[in-house]
Symmetry: C2
Subunit: 464 residues, 2 copies
C-alpha cells in the first residue's frame, strides 16, 4: 500500500440537490442514446445495463457506437472534412475503433509503435496516419515510413537525422511537421501565455529552437517539411488559446517563407493545432462547442495568415477525449456499503464497487471528477454524503471523493460512471491481480464484445 | 493527453555532487549483489546488465533472487519465525515469487481473488495465507474458505454475515481477524495520532465500531475470532507508530477479554500490525532497521500486554515493499537526449527512455523519487540538470523530475533505476500500447525469464 493520495479538498461543485435529480440522467454527460426506462432501469442504445451486467459481468465498459461515430462526423463537418480531424488513438484504441474512424473518413494519430501496429492490423489507411512521440525508435520510424504514413511529427534534432537516415534506407521521401512549444498553456478556461516550455515535447518558439529545427528538416535528405504542430492543453473550452498559439506559429511561418526557396515554401501548408477539446464530466460542465470553436478558429487563422502575409494553411486538429470520452460508461456492481464513523463523530458512507483504480486511475492520478448514477432502478431516500471506492488494497483507491447519494443504495445495485471512454481502459492495469474489464459495444438494441475480459489464465500464461 | 501533472517543487535532497559519485553505486539502494565491473559495466548477481539488455531487450525488470530471499530470512528471524511474517503480495506477485516465499517459510497476504488464484496456482500452502480486502465478493470468500486459508481479515459488518454464511455452506469454521483503524497514521518519521479514520478500511477504534465488530464476529456462526489487525502507514522508519497502535489495540483487547466467555477469549491471540516498513529509494535515505524495530516492537507489545493484563499475543507483520522493493531494478535504453531551451533562457536536458509511466506510475501518482545510474559504462563530463522522461504521449510522463547527470550520457546508453520491485510491475499498464516489460531473475551469474515480455499479439488477441 503506497502513501495515501491526499485528494485536495474539492471545491463543491453544483451537486445533486435531490433524490429526484439523482435519478434523472444529465444527457450531456452520458452517451447520446442513454435513457432510463419506465421501470427505472438505465439503458444505452436500447440495451438495459442490467442485461449487460448479467451477460458480460461487472465491471464492464459500455461503448455507444452511434455516439462515437456521431462525434466523429460532427468534428469532421465543423473542421471542413474528416482528413482535417485526427482521432488521437491514445485516448482509446482498438481495431474496431480504428475501423469506425476510417469509415467516418477521419485521420488517425498514433504515438507509439504499438498504436501504429493496432492501426495497421485494422487496415487503417496509412496515408491518413500521423505519427507522434518524443522518443521514436529506429524500428518505430522504419515501420512508419515503410507503411507509408502521411506525416511524422519531429520532436528533436536527433530525430531529424535518424528519420532522414531511415527514409533514405527505405528509399522514399517522408512528409514531416515540426512540433513547436508556442508558450501557450491552456487549462480549462484560463491560459498562461508564457509558460509550458519546460517539457519534453517540441521545440521552443521563443528561443528560436523551433525555427532552427524547421530549417534542419528542410535541409535533411528525404524529408519534406510540410508544416508546424503544437498542443496547448487539455480540457480546453474555447478558441482563445488555440488562436493565440496559431498566431504565434504563423509569425514563425512567415519568417520561414522569407528564407525558404519558393518550391520548399509552397510545400508548407499544414498547421496542426493539436487536441484538448473539453468534454463534460460533471453535470455543471458544458463540452466545448465544436461548431462555434471551429468557425472561430478557422476565421482567426485566415485573418492571421492574411496579416502576416502567408497563404492560408489547412488546419488539422487532434481530438481524442472529445470523441471517445463521452461515448463510454463503466458499470460496476455495488459490494460493501459501510458507514465509517470517526472519533470526531462524523460519518461517511463508503460504497465499494468491484473495480477501482485498475480500470480508472484518473481520480488518483489527476484528481479527476466523475458523475455517478444507479443503473438498475430508481433509488429512494434522503441524500447522504458518500465516497465511491474500489476494491484495491490501497486507501487512495477512490473513484469519487465526495458526493451525495440517496441512502437506499445497497449491495447488488449497479453503479454507472459516465464519460469513461478516454484514458480509462487505455491506462488500465492489473493491480492487485484484478482483471481488465471487457469493452462491450451497443447499437440499436444489440450488444457485442469488442474487447473480452481478461482472465487469470492470461496472467499466468506470461510466466514461463 | 491528460492535464499536466504539476509535480511539487522537490526539496533538494542531497544530490550527487560529482561525476565520480554518479558512477559509484549506493549499495543500500540497489540489490545486494549489484556491482560495477572494472570495465564500467554494472552487473547484478554476476550478470552484466549489458547482457540482459542484449538478450531480453529493454525495458526490463531485473530481480536479484538472493536479495529477495535474504530479506525474507532477515524479517523472519527478527520477528521470531516465518509464520509471523506475511509477504504482502500486492507489492509484486508471481507464481515463482510465491514459491520463494513458501520455501523461506514465510506466510502470504492476498488482497483479491486474483492474488489468491496466483498463490494457489503456485501451490502456496493455504494454511499460511491471510486474506484482505474492503469488498470481498461471495466468490472470493468461498474460494478462500474452501481452499483452507488461515485467516480472513474482516473489514465490514456486512462481511461478517456474508462470511458466516459462506463458512456455513462450506461446512467449516473460519478463523478471522478484525481490521481496526486505531487513529494512527504514520508518514515516514512523523505520525499523527488522531487521524486517518476517514478511509475505506477497517472499523474505528475510538468510535466503538471496532469493538462492536469484534463482538459480532464472536457471535457469528462458523467464525472464530482470533485477533485484531491494523495498518498504520507506508514508508515507516521506526517503531513508534506501530507501538502506539499496538497499545491502543491491546486496551481494546483487554476490554474484549472481560466480556468474552473464557473459551472464546483464549482463542484470541493474534495481533497483526500490518506493513509499511520503509526502504531507501534514494542514497540519503536509510531503510528501516528491521532487527532494531522488531526487537523494540515485540518488547513494547509485551510491556503493554502486561500493563493491561492480557496474555501476550503473537505479532504478525505484513511487509511487501521491504522484501520486493530493493530486490529489483529497471533497465531502460536511452533514446532522445534533448536540451530544451525556454524563453527565459534556461535549459534543461531531457533524457528519454524506452519505458515510462506504463511500467512505473509511482512518480506521477505519488511524486515518488528514484535513483538513476548508467549501467553500460562509467560516464564522464560535468553534471548537468536533467529530467528523465518516458516515451508516452503525455507531458506528465516523468520518471525522475530533476537530477544532476554527467553530460556525456547519450542515446544507446543503458539507464538503470533502483528499487522498482514494489508497485511498479504490479501497477503496470499498456498505456499508449506500450507492452509490459519482462521480469528477469538473476542468480549466481545466470539469468532466466520469470515473466515474459508482452507482445502486440497479446493485445490483439483480446479483441474478438
Amino acid at each position: 500500500m503506497d502513501p495515501l493520495v491526499h485528494l485536495p479538498s474539492v471545491p463543491l461543485r453544483q451537486r445533486t440537490q435531490s433524490t429526484e435529480e439523482f435519478n434523472a440522467i444529465p444527457a450531456h454527460v452520458y452517451p447520446c442514446n442513454t435513457a432510463r426506462r419506465a421501470d427505472g432501469v438505465m439503458s444505452v442504445a436500447g440495451v438495459p445495463l442490467t442485461d449487460i451486467a448479467e451477460r458480460y459481468g461487472t465491471p464492464a465498459f459500455i461503448l455507444d457506437e452511434d455516439d462515437f461515430r456521431s462525434r466523429c462526423r460532427r468534428l469532421a463537418k465543423a473542421f471542413g472534412g474528416g482528413q482535417r480531424v485526427h482521432y488521437a488513438s491514445k485516448a482509446f484504441i482498438s481495431k474496431t475503433v480504428c475501423r469506425w474512424v476510417a469509415e467516418e473518413g477521419l485521420a488517425l494519430d498514433v504515438a507509439s509503435q504499438g498504436e501504429l501496429q493496432v492501426a495497421l492490423a485494422a487496415d487503417f489507411p496509412p496515408e491518413r496516419i500521423t505519427v507522434h512521440g518524443n522518443n521514436k525508435s529506429r524500428d518505430f520510424l522504419t515501420l512508419a515510413v515503410e507503411s507509408g504514413v502521411e506525416l511524422i511529427v519531429i520532436d528533436s534534432l536527433q530525430e531529424i537525422s535518424l528519420l532522414s537516415d531511415v527514409a533514405t534506407s527505405v528509399g522514399c521521401e517522408q512528409d514531416v511537421l515540426v512540433r513547436v512549444t508556442p508558450g501557450v498553456h491552456v487549462d480549462t478556461h484560463e491560459f498562461i501565455a508564457t509558460s509550458h516550455e519546460d517539457q519534453k515535447f517540441g521545440f521552443s518558439l521563443a528561443s528560436g529552437a523551433a525555427y532552427r529545427a524547421a530549417m534542419a528538416c528542410v535541409d535533411a535528405k528525404n524529408l519534406s517539411f510540410r508544416g508546424l504542430h503544437c498542443h496547448v492543453g487539455s480540457q480546453v473550452f474555447d478558441a482563445a488559446g488555440f488562436v493565440l498559439a496559431a498566431e504565434r506559429l504563423l509569425k514563425m511561418w512567415a519568417g520561414l517563407l522569407q528564407e525558404l526557396p519558393r518550391e520548399e515554401g509552397e510545400r508548407l501548408n499544414i498547421l496542426d493545432l493539436g487536441g484538448g477539446y473539453g468534454i463534460a464530466y460533471m453535470p455543471d460542465q458544458q463540452a466545448l462547442d465544436v461548431e462555434h470553436v471551429a468557425a472561430n478558429l478557422l476565421e482567426k487563422v485566415a485573418e492571421a495568415s492574411y496579416k502576416v502575409g502567408v497563404p492560408r494553411p489547412v488546419v488539422n486538429v487532434e481530438p481524442g477525449r472529445a470523441i471517445a470520452g463521452p461515448s463510454m460508461v463503466t458499470v460496476y456492481r455495488v459490494g460493501t456499503v459501510k458507514d465509517v464513523e470517526t472519533s470526531d463523530r462524523t460519518v461517511r458512507r463508503y460504497i465499494s464497487v468491484d473495480g477501482g483504480m485498475s480500470d480508472n486511475i484518473r481520480p488518483a492520478l489527476y484528481q479527476a471528477e466523475y458523475d455517478v448514477r444507479i443503473a438498475n432502478r430508481e433509488v429512494e431516500g434522503d441524500l447522504v454524503h458518500c465516497r465511491i471506492v474500489g476494491s484495491h488494497c490501497e486507501s487512495g483507491d477512490i473513484l469519487v471523493n465526495d458526493l451525495p447519494v440517496p441512502n437506499d443504495v445497497r449491495p447488488g445495485d449497479l453503479l454507472v460512471i459516465a464519460a469513461t471512454g478516454a484514458y480509462c481502459y487505455s491506462m488500465s492495469s492489473r493491480y492487485n491481480m484484478m482483471m481488465r474489464p471487457p469493452v462491450v459495444t451497443v447499437k440499436d438494441g444489440e450488444s457485442a464484445v469488442m474487447i473480452r475480459r481478461e482472465t487469470i489464465e492470461d496472467v499466468l500464461s506470461l510466466e514461463t
